[in-house]
């Protein structure tokens, strides 16, 4: 018997919706095809990385002092997961778009939006399905790490998990962009073009405007590929994580706004502007969060422990004035070796370029070009060095304290490993694809009963 009273939105179970989204993403050929393509892609990258690492390790065996230069993070993890990054950039959008695009094209969306769920709930369910697809697509990369361990390779849990977190956030960001694109586009093909405009457009930004000063530098920071750089360096930056999470949330909010077809265009536009402004505020606040943890085993992003402790106690503002052009390689050295570490170690550091328009060629005759002025309290000093060995004593001198005694903690030993990745090739080109194909076949089996939720 049907009542004439309305059916209330509250109380509709989430599990059927989530199950539907998971079945939809797993039923698509795009997901399984991507998974199969990732096997040789990641496998060959892993094979090459292990081979090069093995060659370097063989050289180190002749000269053990160089062993500390061998880190699995740089030698194996980053290049192997770099192949995963390429696949996520180029292939994963098609998987994520399908989560919504298929329903738009078949007309099922007109049924879906009438179900007793809010638009935000529908998008959350789809985002969860995208996350599950992302986790499943990490199987080839995870198996590469397992093979590395079986070969006797070393993995540092903090830096490995940090790198995996970076790739997970990057994948979710691509997925959220794809959902937004599918939400605003009438067809999956258009949504794919919109999404690839973001992902491949980031590569274009990297190639064309990165390294340029001023506005171009700011634009280059919008590149999605910047998301991974910090994680690949072994840093866990709170501002970056908050920023990525806010951006994912922003794209999900935009997808929610543009999902229901019954809302007028102008209202959607106003809501979108509001969401973008809200995300911009969060991103602005996130840049003020300075917490960044160096998770690398060799602590490459930090000074020695004794220096870190001493610098943390310098409470007065340190003002660094750099007389270098941003594109000058010396500035990049100074930034990497000293300035970035100082910003993380000291509570109050501000860095400014003396003149953003300086050019290493045109300023060749300028005597001050190349100088870096350090002002701490009422005292200041000048140096042209980009080495912490010279800068840190200078800072201690400005602060009126003596240089701390070096700690007795052992140096990073390095993890050389002479191994061959040949065995991995069989796994990635044969074993794993067969397992994935079997899983695909299993997922195609039709249930014989209706599932009751």
């Amino acid at each position: 018997m049907h009542s004439h009273e309305t059916f209330h939105l509250r109380g509709a179970p989430f599990s059927p919706l989530l199950a539907k989204e998971l079945w939809e993403v797993l039923a698509g050929r795009a997901f399984w095809t991507m998974l199969l393509l990732m096997c040789p892609l990641i496998g060959y990258s892993f094979f090459q990385a292990v081979s090069l690492y093995g060659e370097s390790s063989a050289a180190v065996l002749q000269s053990p002092a160089m062993a500390s230069a061998l880190s699995p993070l740089d030698g194996v993890l980053v290049p192997t997961l770099g192949a995963s990054y390429v696949a996520i950039t180029l292939l994963f959008p098609f998987v994520a778009i399908r989560v919504l695009g298929q329903e738009k094209e078949s007309g099922a969306l007109r049924l879906l939006i009438q179900l007793p769920y809010r638009s935000s709930t529908l998008i959350v369910a789809k985002l969860v399905a995208v996350l599950v697809a992302l986790l499943l697509s990490s199987i080839p990369a995870a198996s590469a790490l397992a093979v590395w361990r079986m070969l006797g390779g070393h993995l540092s849990a903090p830096e490995t998990l940090n790198l995996l977190l970076g790739h997970l956030l990057y994948g979710l960001l691509v997925g959220a962009i794809a959902l937004f694109a599918a939400s605003v586009s009438e067809s999956a093909a258009t949504a794919a073009i919109v999404t690839l405009a973001f992902t491949i457009g980031s590569w274009v930004l990297d190639f064309t405007v990165a390294g340029h000063p001023g506005l171009l530098e700011w634009i280059a920071r919008l590149s999605l590929t910047q998301v991974l750089r910090t994680f690949e360096q072994g840093l866990l930056s709170a501002s970056l994580v908050v920023g990525i999470a806010a951006t994912i949330g922003g794209f999900a909010a935009l997808a929610t706004i543009w999902l229901p077809p019954g809302v007028r265009f102008r209202k959607k536009l106003y809501c979108s502007v509001g969401s973008v402004l809200a995300v911009a505020v969060v991103l602005g606040l996130a840049t003020q969060v300075r917490l960044a943890i160096d998770l690398t085993e060799d602590q490459r992003n930090s000074f020695a422990m004794a220096d870190q402790t001493a610098l943390a106690k310098l409470a007065e503002p340190l003002v660094v004035t750099v007389h270098l052009a941003p594109e000058d390689p010396r500035y990049a050295d100074l930034q990497r070796n000293v300035l970035a570490k100082l910003e993380r170690a000291m509570p109050n550091v501000s860095i400014r370029l003396a003149d953003g328009r300086q050019n290493p060629r045109t300023n060749a005759g300028d005597d001050s070009y190349g100088e870096v002025e350090y002002a701490y309290g009422s005292r200041s000093d000048i140096s042209r060095s980009s080495s912490p060995r010279e800068i840190l004593p200078l800072l201690y001198g400005l602060a009126g304290i003596s240089s701390p005694a070096p700690a007795s903690a052992g140096d990073f030993p390095g993890y050389p490993l002479v191994a061959s990745g040949q065995v991995a090739l069989f796994w990635f080109f044969c074993g794993l694809p067969v397992c994935i194909a079997l899983a695909w076949w299993q997922s195609r089996r039709i249930p014989q009963t209706i599932t009751m939720y």
């Binding site: 509709a12 059927p16 329903e103 939720y453």
Partner: protein, 267 residues
Amino acid sequence: MDGVFHLVPSQILFGAKSPVQAEPDRFSEQKPDQGLLRVDLINKQYAGEPVLADIAFEIRRGEIVGIIGPNGAGKTTLLEVLAGILPAEASDLQWLGRPLPASRRREAMFYLPDGVRPYQDQPVTRVLSFFAGVYRRSADEITGMVNAVGLTPVLHKRVHSLSKGYGRRLLLALGLLTPQPVLLMDEPFDGFDLRQVRDILQLLRNDAGKGRTLVLAIHQLMDAERVCDRFILLADGRIRGVGTLHDLRARTGNPIGNLEDMFLALT
């Protein structure tokens, strides 16, 4: 097998799992003297061209209303505006005497579009599971629905492999699983042969008999005349007549004419 409704035991459909049944939340007061749904004004334009103009009518509880008109008359647009899935310049509706904004239409109505084949890669069982799960339908209700609509032979087929008729049956089953008091259906008989149309007509009659209100957009006048209690005649985006066949005959002065005669006379 088209046209034959099959009975299937519930344990075959659901295995050993016990069904879950829940009543939907209810909140509004019922006022017996009022119509269920009153459309005060609907205006809709596409690119400045009016496709629906000055639409106003009332729907009473438990009746089957046919929106009748030729292709391009605006039937589908009217249903989509009613359901709140298409924005309109004016869309003022009253539900039991209270305004019903577009954002809350889905609480009162469910709209079955024409030509939709949802979740094509999924088997029929999974699509039914989804809708049954959303509305907490019991195993018995789903079994009854599958038998009534005649979906048994294709339960384990994927949606994309269904014939047009079975695709329509699946859509009909989904609509009948929904609990909203008003079901809007666009061309519900399209894709069915004569025998199937009779079966579906009976099914819709039974649903209306249980208190549900059905609004059907139909361009086949014979089908409409057989199933609908009242008619809304639509042409060029405007209402040309509203009422029972008797009302329309009285209005046109043709006491023995059929719906086709009425439609031609009024449009």
